[in-house]
Symmetry: C2
Subunit: 274 residues, 2 copies
DNA sequence: ACTTGCCGTGAATCTGATT
DNA sequence: GAATCAGATTCACGGCAAG
């Protein structure tokens, strides 16, 4: 089956209106952070950030399927020695708008930008805010399981007396319940902290995040043939990864060069896959 | 020189009023989270949490030196499938009160509580919110950079082979990046992400956080003979560590048993030092 | 002193039953 | 009914003891 890849050139709010209701399974995006990237996006001021974002979020709410998920990668910058509060205000405002603030994942940037400041350390993490329309949403946890820790090899191979006894003797939290479930277990569920390095390879167009970041969330929240939307496409990392993972993709960006570049990259991927 | 250790039994708000203005260099505390610790602290409801905390914060603002720092360890729990928003509201309210929200550190809990749920992963991080009275505050970065190998021996260094594997394999299909040298870099230049396990086993008294947590912030924000305050002392981890590090300490708790226990522990430390 | 292996337990969260 | 409770599910670190 052919994968659809739609790239819209233009303002996010306007272009989103072209999309039908309840048609997207996952929105994964990293919007321009306040007061950053002045040259390309005109630099949204922190003071008007929420006001600027809310109409867009309303459209996102409309196009997202009831079972879908919206993941927002964002981090407030330091202004005048203080962390800006626009992200906090945005979360509260989105809830007012009808979104459920389901979870906040932490992206730990393992090789964050080096440097030293007089009263501040290097910023090594970003927020990945998860919003949903409903308390029930699609989530494919098995797709992102990780190997168990080293401890498991020893402990599970040779279950001690206590581990087996706890099944009956201990009440409450513990390891002993349903020991049989564990014997064959080699993988564990991940946590809400993601350890990923930032990509520093492609200097041409610095992506906001490494491919592994959207990849993880696409694995978690979608299946093949689902639709992934990035309303602030930029260099198109989300789209390229999603397309490679056999998801339909929709991208929006106001910069013609980005749209053209992503189209070209997707074509290359297409050829590569064949 | 003799180190002063004051322990006040009683309500935080009331006891704080006994302290003079601008007399504390560092406030490091972990207040009862909303809806937690019901048996010992009565369980403050999320809806009234900000209201409850603000008068205490006003006193903290008064007793803190202009160059001092306030570090608040907190994390919102899940209510009805959503993260509570009272922490976000608290940050905004504290700024209204005059605090500067200088930084947000992340404590990555390496051994977080196990569990599996249909639409959520395990919660593996907590917030460490840094507030200040002024944009200029005391910070001794060298203290946590240089002697890091000393205080962190065996704590941060350990990273198993499987741990390295997990970070890359969790994203599957081969384009995960191999990064295994981040720990050594972390030790050379700290970031705002702290990797620590909770100390939960084989301890007489379970503390809310590991000793390494207050230790790191005490190193960073104070010098010997400075004064450290914990208005929600609990089992006294902050005080014991601070005292061991030759800081004057002030602790407040409403539970008589805790006050008595911490006094006893501090005496033991005293003897040990001699 | 250094490694190896055993094992206790934690600011969890959801579901369904019971006051 | 709303509010509370009990039950089930689930990892991984770090302290000890032993080699």
């Amino acid at each position: 089956m052919k994968l659809i890849t739609d790239i819209y050139l233009g303002d996010s709010y306007e272009q989103l209106q072209l999309l039908p209701d309840c048609s997207v399974d996952l929105i994964f995006t990293s919007p321009p952070y306040a007061d950053q990237r002045k040259t390309t996006y005109g630099g949204v001021q922190p003071t008007v950030y929420v006001e600027w974002f809310l109409p867009i979020a309303a459209e996102l709410l409309r196009v997202l399927k009831p079972s879908g998920t919206f993941v927002l990668n964002i981090k407030e910058k330091v202004v005048n020695g203080e962390r800006s509060t626009y992200v906090l205000e945005l979360i509260l405002a989105l809830r007012q708008q009808g979104w459920l603030w389901t979870e906040e994942f932490i992206w730990h940037k393992k090789n964050c930008y080096p440097g030293k400041w007089p009263n501040r350390f290097r910023d090594a993490w970003e927020r990945l805010l998860q919003f949903n329309k409903q308390r029930q949403f699609s989530m494919y946890q098995e797709a992102v399981m990780v190997p168990m820790g080293d401890w498991a090899t020893g402990r599970l191979k040779h279950l001690s007396n206590t581990d087996q006894l706890r099944d009956t003797s201990r009440v409450g939290s513990g390891f002993g319940k349903k020991v049989s479930n564990w014997l064959t277990r080699t993988q564990a569920y991940p946590t809400n902290v993601l350890h990923l390095a930032t990509e520093c390879s492609n200097k041409q167009h610095s992506a906001a995040f490494p491919e592994a970041l959207p990849e993880w969330f696409i694995q978690l929240f979608t299946q093949e043939q689902d639709t992934v939307l990035d309303p602030f496409m930029g260099s198109g990392t989300t789209l390229i990864v999603a397309h490679r993972m056999k998801r339909h993709t929709i991208g929006i960006d106001i910069v013609p060069e980005y749209c053209e570049m992503v189209r070209k990259k997707l074509n290359e991927t297409e050829l590569y896959l064949i």
